[in-house]
């Protein structure tokens, strides 16, 4: 069941994204930035966590999850450290993904060439 929910929710977010690209002047970059901001705001309003609880990877994997993780990290660090948390929190949860992206990307860039 949770696979079906992840498929439907994740697919729906992507389909709406595609609709925005095809009907407005937005490019991919605009769409991704918009979704990240939306995720961050929804997390601040406390909506994204229950949504992720329900949809699992369907809410985690789309890039909105990245924005929500930033806010979540800031809020938890804020509680732990005080105001410094506003600055250390951004990479609290997302740091792992970013570091993974940097490491893997560097390795592949050294090993492979773009191909056509």
């Amino acid at each position: 069941m949770e696979y079906i929910i992840a498929f439907l929710v994740g697919g729906a977010i992507c389909a709406i994204g595609q609709l925005i690209i095809d009907t407005t002047k937005c490019s991919n970059a605009h769409l991704l930035v918009g979704l990240v901001c939306l995720g961050a705001v929804l997390s601040g309003l406390g909506i994204y966590e229950p949504f992720q609880e329900f949809a699992g990877a369907g809410a985690l994997v789309p890039v909105m999850g990245f924005g929500s993780s930033i806010t979540k990290g800031m809020l938890s660090e804020l509680e732990r450290l005080g105001w410094e948390g506003l600055f250390t929190g951004a990479f609290e949860i997302t740091g792992l993904g970013l570091a993974a992206g940097i490491v893997f990307s560097s390795i592949w860039a050294l090993l492979r060439k773009p191909q056509k």
């Binding site: 690209i21 991919n28 773009p114 191909q115 056509k116």
Partner: protein
């Protein structure tokens, strides 16, 4: 000023001719409907070079060598080398030209470079400033993509108005001889800017430039489209081609069936290249391949080659400038 016709057209009474030419295309173009028109089809688009920029330079050099070979000409006998490409500071052409001792004129006209070079070459010959002029252009899918668009492997969905830059090079040697296709006229275009800003649809932006140059050429020479067996536009693509037809038919031109477009025709529909080919090499290989073969085989007596260029840069697009466009025409006769 006896060599001028009307306001923009030059006539060449001394009959400059194409002594020899050579076209090279990449593997994708080699699978297209015009594969048989090209002299050489590359097995891959890297050729063991470290960067695609090096490959672009190499194929231009290969085309120059072969062109000279075909007419048994030494580079010392070439009085001018006129070349251009799409890259910043036309580096492929300048690097290639550094191999040769001929005086070098580097020009930039984006995808219109080829006709600009041919027109200038014929002008130098007409003016007795040269006996032999070598002209050439090259472009490469990967170099253009990274300069004007995105990394090759990026998750981009191409739309129907996107162009695919042609990998290839076309070089021709102009001079005087008793036979061979001759360059009779050249019409250098003015910049036409209709305020279009969508770099994803360059065909529609370039169509008014092609229209303006064709109209001026026909007016200056008192000809109609019917006087040409073929009017080959550069790389308007499927969208731009449609817009050009609309513009011409709105002004009451007849003979639209003579219009063909290099960009729309270089790839087959199954090749998923959006609106079609573009790039400095597109009209060079179609003009020196397809059009020249039509003249040589007698299928056409007189052809007008109209190369169109969208003179945008990656910076001006981001800064919200519109796309200035240009078209140059050269008339060829068997």
């Amino acid at each position: 000023m006896s060599n001028r016709l009307g306001s923009q057209t030059l006539t060449f009474s001394k009959v400059p001719r194409l002594l020899s030419s050579y076209t090279i295309v990449g593997p994708l173009e080699g699978k297209g409907p015009h594969a048989l028109d090209f002299d050489e089809i590359l097995p891959d688009d890297v050729l063991d070079q470290k960067t695609p920029e090096k490959t672009e330079r190499l194929i231009l050099e290969m085309a120059i060598e072969k062109t000279l070979q075909q007419s048994n000409t030494k580079i010392e006998d070439v009085h001018f080398l006129i070349a251009g490409d799409l890259l910043n500071q036309i580096t492929s052409s300048t690097l290639a030209a550094s191999t040769y001792a001929a005086p070098f004129l580097g020009i930039y006209g984006a995808c219109s470079t080829f006709a600009q070079a041919m027109g200038l070459g014929a002008t130098l010959l007409q003016g007795d400033f040269a006996e032999k002029v070598l002209i050439g252009t090259a472009s490469h899918y990967q170099t253009a993509e990274r300069q004007f668009r995105y990394p090759i492997e990026l998750n981009i969905q191409h739309i129907s108005s996107n162009h695919h830059t042609v990998t290839g090079a076309g070089v021709a040697l102009l001079g005087f001889a008793n036979q061979g296709p001759q360059v009779t006229h050249a019409t250098f275009g003015t910049i036409v800017d209709m305020g279009l800003k969508d770099s994803q649809d360059m065909g529609s932006a370039m169509a008014p430039a092609a229209f303006s140059t064709i109209k001026q050429h026909l007016k200056d020479t008192s000809r109609g489209l019917e006087d040409y067996d073929m009017v080959l536009t550069g790389d308007l693509g499927k969208h731009g081609r449609k817009m050009l037809r609309l513009l011409l038919s709105k002004e009451g031109f007849s003979g639209l069936e003579r219009l063909q477009d290099g960009g729309s025709q270089i790839y087959g529909d199954h090749q998923k290249t959006g609106a079609g080919g573009s790039g400095a090499a597109c009209i060079a290989v179609m003009g020196l391949g397809y059009a020249l073969n039509m003249l040589k085989s007698g299928k056409a007596r007189r052809i007008l080659v109209v190369a169109t260029g969208a003179l945008l840069s990656a910076l001006t697009v981001l800064q919200g400038e519109s796309i200035p466009c240009i078209a140059h025409a050269v008339a060829l006769e068997a």
